[in-house]
Symmetry: C3
């Protein structure tokens, strides 16, 4: 079986606009039968804590647009970030990495993370993977 | 004719510092006879609305540097972001994509966009292109 | 001798979270015997000025976490960004580029920069390099 194409995303941000960006790209990739590899670090890692993604907001400069945007997304019946993540997971093509140095830095324990996380890993694991990916971005 | 090298940029941000970053890289690429493919999404997409780019500012943390920077750029006769975009366009090597899911999310209509936009497209079109690009980044 | 793999990073941001992100990836790459090429532009370039990196803070939305994070890093004996940069440099695998258009834009002189900078260069030099890199990201 030929290897699938890969999209690798470093999720550094924890704001709603960047989570949607990462998850829309990831969902599109899995719908195209590509593998999506998401490495959560820094503020992104903090969003893997149970219940955190539901509270994600917009960065300071766009704070005034947070409520209108959330209202609009609800009207559109747009999936939440966590819903999108679970749908991607269901395709079998998504792999989620939690950055271990960030976990130590912020004192995050494994049992605090959502169950969809596949691997706790340092940057070496991810760079190894990214070197074989067609496309790598950081959000 | 051999295929040209490609630079692909996802323009997620709508702030002046990130627009200049994307457009300086894009202009440099076209000057090197590379193709530049710019996919505008989220805050970036909102900057494709007629008259929007002219009002772009700096993010909250650097707000106090907005006026000094704009003054300096004027003294240097530095091109505005929209001028840079039009010059890139004139090379025939720039392709501009407007993200359709973002247009729906923010209620942006096609006729509100600047005429330089080439294609309204979803993420699949862009990921297909990015997989063939030498370099892909997100700003 | 076979060519080494390359990681290319455009350091656009000047905040502590993004500097650590770039330097942790860069350090990991050099530890894996990859070359790390860091191109500092915009706010990132401003962090190459002597004494600047020591004052780096967090973006507006995370300002309240700046002191707790710095305290935690000190407790962990975590290296500062500048320490990490010097350690990467000592491997002989790190190359630092300072973006010349940014230097003009912000009126930064060569003698104000830290001595670890290898090259003053425009975007063309970096795009040329990035086209041969396994992975390129922008932070």
């Amino acid at each position: 079986m030929p290897e699938k194409k890969k999209l690798a995303i470093i999720v550094h941000s924890g704001t709603l606009d960047k989570l949607y960006c990462a998850f829309i790209l990831g969902s599109t990739a899995t719908a195209m039968d590509m593998e999506a590899h998401l490495y959560f670090t820094f503020w992104g890692l903090n969003m893997l804590k149970k219940g955190a993604m539901e509270k994600a907001g917009l960065p300071a400069i766009y704070k005034h647009m947070e409520e209108p945007l959330k209202k609009k997304l609800k009207e559109m019946n747009y999936p939440t970030p966590y819903d999108m993540l679970k749908r991607m997971k269901a395709t079998g093509l998504l792999k989620i990495y939690a950055c271990t140095p960030t976990m130590e830095m912020f004192g995050v324990k494994k049992e605090e993370l959502i169950p969809e996380v596949d691997t706790l890993a340092g940057a070496a694991t991810f760079l190894e993977l990214a070197a074989t990916a067609e496309t790598t971005i950081l959000v």
